[in-house]
C-alpha cells in the first residue's frame, strides 16, 4: 500500500487503536493511560500535519474499497477534509491534556478516555470520509461514542440529557439515512467532489433532488444544533467540561455543520443549490438560529448553559456562510468552522476551570474571579471578545468575511443579522467579563481547591492559555499561509472552479 493511501488510515487508526488499548488497560494504571493518550494525540497531529502539507502541494491521499455492490468505503483527504481534521487533531491534544487534569481521581476514567478516543476517531473519519456512505458510518459512530461521555457522571440529570441526546441524534440519523438512500437510488454512489455532481442534470429530477436536499440538511441540522432541532444541546452540557468543550468545538455540532458543507458543495454543488433556490430558505433558518440562540443565551444564569446557547448561535454562522453564494461567503463559513472551535473550546476550558477550582457554576458567582484566577479570566475575556467580533481576534475575521460575503451576494439583510448578533453577544458576554474584573468578591467561593503556585491544576491551567494564543494569532496573522483564513480561501477557490 502506498503512503498516500496509508496516511488517511493511520490518521484514523491512531485514535482508534488508542481507544482499544485504553479500554484494555486496568482502571488503576493512570500514568500508562495518560501516556498512551498523549502519544496517540501527538502522533495524530504529526500525521495530519504531514497530510496537510501534502494536500497543499497537490498530493491526492485516498483509499477506497467496495463494501457492498454499489457502495464503497472511501477515505480521501482534500483541502476541506484537512480543515476539519486539523481542528480535530489540534484540539484533541489540548482537550486530552485538559481531561487528564479534570478527571484526576474521579472514577471510570478508563471508560471515559476509551470513548473519548473513539469520539475523536469518529471525527477523523467524518473529516476524511470520501463519500456520503462513509460519512454516515462515522457520523453514527460519533453518536454512539459520545453518548457514554454525556452520561459519564451517571446522575439522573445526565441520564435524562443522554436520553434526549440519543433520541434527537438517532432521529436525525434516520432522516439523513433516508436522504442518502434516496440519493443513491437517483444517482448512485457519489464521491465528494469540489464542484458537486449536479451542475447539469435532467430537470425532471429537480423536484426529487430538492426533497433529498431537505432531508439531508434536516438530518445534519440536528447535530449542528439548528432551530428547531437544537433542544438536546443545552441539556447535554451536564457532561464534564472537557466533553462539552469537545462537543461544542469539534465533535458533534461541527460534524453536523461540516456535513452540511459537504452536502451543499461536494454533492449538489453550490451552483445547483443556488439556481434551485435552496440557499435562501436555509439562510433564513440559519439567521433565525443565530439570533434565537443569542437571545436565549441572554437569560441563562448557568455559565455552561449560556455557552451552549451561544454555540447554537455561533454554529449557524457556518451554515449562514454556506448559503451566501460567492467565494467570500464560503470562506467566512469555513473559517468559522475553525474559529468558533478555538474560541468556544477556550470558553469551556475556562468554565471548567472555574467549576473545578472555585466550585463556581453560575454567572452571578463569578464576581471578582479575575483577581483569584487571572490567567483563566484573561483567556475567557479574550475568547468572549472574539465571539463578539472584536478585532483582531478570530471572530472578527469571520464576521468581516461573512459580512463582505453577504454584501457580495447582494444579501444585505445578513449584515444586519450579523451586527445584531454581535450586540447580543456583547450583551451576554460582557456582563460576565465585568463581573470577573470589576466586581469585588461577594461571597466565599462555593468549593475552593488550591494547587501550589499556579491558580489551578497545571493540566487545566495551560490548555485555555494555548487556545487563547491561537485565537489571537489566527486573527492577527490571518493573511499568512496555513492560517485558517488562507486555508479556507484555498478551499473556496477550488469549489468555485468551473
Amino acid at each position: 500500500m502506498s503512503l498516500t493511501a496509508l496516511l488517511p488510515i493511520l490518521a484514523l487508526l491512531s485514535s482508534l487503536l488508542a481507544a482499544v488499548v485504553i479500554f484494555a488497560l486496568p482502571e488503576s494504571s493512570h500514568r500508562l493511560r495518560t501516556l498512551v493518550n498523549l502519544l496517540a494525540a501527538v502522533l495524530k497531529l504529526g500525521i495530519v500535519a504531514a497530510m496537510t502539507w501534502g494536500v497543499f502541494r497537490g498530493v491526492d491521499f485516498s483509499v477506497s474499497f467496495s463494501m457492498l455492490p454499489g457502495v464503497s468505503f472511501m477515505l480521501r483527504a482534500d483541502a476541506l477534509a484537512m480543515l476539519f481534521a486539523g481542528l480535530s487533531a489540534v484540539l484533541w491534544l489540548l482537550t486530552t491534556i485538559y481531561a487528564v487534569g479534570y478527571l484526576e481521581d474521579s472514577p471510570n476514567r478508563s471508560r471515559f478516555f476509551g470513548f473519548f478516543s473513539l469520539c475523536v476517531a469518529s471525527t477523523m473519519g467524518i473529516a476524511l470520509a470520501g463519500n456520503l456512505f462513509t460519512f454516515f458510518l462515522f457520523y453514527e459512530m460519533l453518536t454512539l461514542s459520545t453518548y457514554p461521555l454525556v452520561v459519564h457522571r451517571g446522575t439522573a440529570r445526565a441520564l435524562q440529557a443522554g436520553r434526549n441526546y440519543i433520541i434527537y441524534t438517532l432521529g436525525g440519523g434516520v432522516v439523513l439515512l433516508l436522504g442518502i438512500a434516496w440519493l443513491h437510488g437517483l444517482a448512485g454512489d457519489l464521491a465528494f467532489r469540489e464542484t458537486g455532481h449536479f451542475q447539469s442534470v435532467d430537470p425532471a429530477l429537480h423536484g426529487q433532488l430538492t426533497l433529498v436536499f431537505v432531508l439531508l440538511v434536516a438530518g445534519l441540522g440536528v447535530k449542528a444544533g439548528m432551530f428547531p432541532v437544537h433542544g438536546w444541546l443545552p441539556q447535554a452540557m451536564v457532561a464534564p467540561a472537557p466533553v462539552s468543550a469537545l462537543l461544542h468545538a469539534v465533535a458533534v455540532v461541527k460534524a453536523g455543520a461540516f456535513g452540511i458543507v459537504r452536502v451543499v458543495y461536494d454533492i449538489f454543488g453550490i451552483d445547483f443549490a443556488y439556481r434551485q433556490g435552496l440557499l435562501e430558505p436555509l439562510a433564513w433558518l440559519a439567521a433565525f438560529t443565530v439570533l434565537y440562540g443569542s437571545l436565549r443565551a441572554l437569560w441563562q444564569l448557568d455559565l455552561k448553559r449560556r455557552l451552549a446557547f451561544s454555540t447554537i448561535s455561533q454554529v449557524s454562522y457556518i451554515i449562514l456562510g454556506v448559503t451566501l453564494f460567492g467565494p467570500l461567503g464560503t470562506v467566512g463559513g469555513l473559517v468559522h468552522l475553525l474559529h468558533q472551535g478555538i474560541m468556544k473550546i477556550t470558553l469551556f476550558f475556562c468554565a471548567g476551570n472555574y467549576a473545578e477550582t472555585l466550585g463556581v457554576h453560575r454567572v452571578d458567582e463569578l464576581d471578582g474571579a479575575g483577581a483569584r484566577m487571572p490567567a483563566t479570566s484573561i483567556a475567557f475575556t479574550a475568547a468572549a471578545l472574539g465571539m463578539i467580533g472584536v478585532p483582531p481576534l478570530a471572530g472578527f475575521v469571520t464576521k468581516w468575511t461573512l459580512g463582505a460575503g453577504a454584501l457580495a451576494a447582494q444579501m444585505e439583510w445578513v449584515v444586519l443579522v450579523l451586527l445584531l448578533s454581535s450586540l447580543l453577544n456583547a450583551a451576554y458576554f460582557l456582563p460576565i467579563v465585568y463581573r470577573l474584573w470589576f466586581l469585588p468578591v461577594a461571597a466565599p467561593w462555593p468549593e475552593e481547591r488550591r494547587w501550589g503556585r499556579l491558580e489551578t491544576n497545571a493540566w487545566l491551567f495551560w490548555p485555555p492559555l494555548v487556545t487563547m494564543l491561537l485565537l489571537v494569532l489566527v486573527g492577527l496573522l490571518a493573511p499568512t499561509a496555513f492560517s485558517p483564513l488562507s486555508w479556507a480561501q484555498l478551499i473556496a477557490v477550488r469549489m468555485y472552479l468551473p
Binding site: 487571572p374 471578545l385 467580533g389 472584536v390 478585532p391 483582531p392 472578527f396 475575521v397 464576521k399 468581516w400 459580512g403 463582505a404 454584501l407 457580495a408 449584515v415 451586527l419 454581535s422 450586540l423 456583547a426 460582557l430 474584573w437 470589576f438 486573527g475 492577527l476 496573522l477 490571518a478 493573511p479 499568512t480
Partner: protein
Amino acid sequence: MNSLPPTVLIAASVLLPLLYPLLALRGVWRGALRALLPLLPLPALVLALLSATPWTLELPWLVLGSTWMLDELRRSFLLLTALLWSTAGLYAAGYLGAEQLRRFCVFWGFTLAGNLGLVLAGDMASFYMFFTLMTFAGYGLVVHEGSDRARFAGRVYLVMALVGEMALLAGFLLAFRAADSLLLADVAVATTAGGADGWLIAALFLAGFGVKAGLPLLHFWLPLAHPVAPTPASAVLSGAMIKAGLLGWLLTLPIGELGWAPWGQFMIVLGFVGALGAALPGALQRDPKTVLAWSSISQMGLMAVLVGAALAAPGHAPSLVPLIALFALHHGLAKGCLFLAVGLVLPASRVLRLLLWLLLALPALSLLGLPFTSGALAKGAMKDTLLTLPGLPLGAQLPLLLQAATLATLVLVARYAWLLWRQLQPGAAATARWAGWTLAVLCSSVLFWCLPGVG
C-alpha cells in the same frame, strides 16, 4: 515623494503601550508600571516630530492585510495624542493611589495603544481594530472609581459605543464593497460613486464617529462618562480620544468630492446645535469636570461645522482640513490642561497661588481665543475661512452664529472657573502631578507654537 517608513519607531510606538500591560502580571512590577506611565507615548512623539512624511508601511500579513501611514493630517493628530497622553501620564503617576493601580495601568496602556494606532492606520481593518481597542479599554478607565455614578456612566458609554461600532462596521463593509479596497484613501471616491449605497455609507460614518465625537443626540454618554473617570483619564478622554471621531470623519467622509453640499449643510446645522446647545446644560452643572465635558461637546460642534463646510465647499477642502487638524490640536491640549487642573491643590505660598491661577487662566483664555493663545490662531483662522467661503449654507447668519458660539464658550469657561475657584482646597500633591499639569500648560501655550504644522 514618499519617504521610507521608520519601521522600528513605528513598531515601538504601538507595541510599547500594547505590551506595557504585561507588567501587571507580577505584583512586584508595580513600580515600573507607575514609572512608565509618562514614557509610553514617547516613541510616537518622536515619530510625529521627526519622521519625514508622507510614508506608507505595508503589513500584508497583519489582520486583513494592513497599511499604516503618516501624512500631515495624521501627524497633527499623532502629535496631539502623544503630547496629551504623555503629560496626562506624568500627572497620573502622581495621582493614582496604590489601590487598583495595576488594573488602571492595564486599561491605560491598551487605550493609548488604540488611540495611537488608529492615527497611523491607513486601512479600514486597522483603523477599526485600534478604534475598537480604544473604545473597549476606555471603558475600564471610565468605571475605574467603581462608584454607582461611574458604573452607570460606564454602561451608557458602552452601549452607545457598541451601537456606534456596529454602524462603523456596517459602513466599512459597505465601503469595502463599493471601493473593492481596504484603503481608507479609497473610501471617499467610492462613496461618491456609490449612489444610494454611498448615502448609507456616509450616514453610517457620520453617526458611528458622531458617537465618539459627541454629535448632538449622540452625545448622551459624554457628560456622564468624561467626568467620572480619574482626572488624568478624563483629560485624555476629552482631549484626545474624542478627536478619534473627528479624525474618523476626515478619513471616511467624502470630503473634497462633489455633490455632498446638502450633507455639509446638515452637518453645519448639527454642529452649531452642539456648539450653542451645550452651553445651557453645561452652565447648570456643579462639577467642573462635567462643565468641561459639555464644553467639549460645544467645541466639537465647531469642528463639526468645519467638517460640514469642507463637505459643502469641496473646492476648499484642501485648506479646511489642515485647519480642522489645527483646531483639534489647540482644543485637545487646552482641554487637557483644564481637566488636569481639577485635581490640583492650592499651595501654601501666596506667590505660588497667584502663579497657579495665572497658569490656570492660560488654557481657559486660549479656549476663548484671546490674542497670543493657540485658540486665537485656530479660531481666528476658522472665522476668516468660514466668513470668506463663497456660497456656504447659512452664509448670512454665520457671523452671528460664530459670535453666539464664542458667547457659549465664554459661559462655560466662566462657569468652570467659578466652580474651580470654589473647589480647590489647600493641600499637598505629588510632584509628578504638578509636573504633568505644568508640562501640559507649557505644551498648550508655548510649545504649541513650535509644533510642525502650526503657523
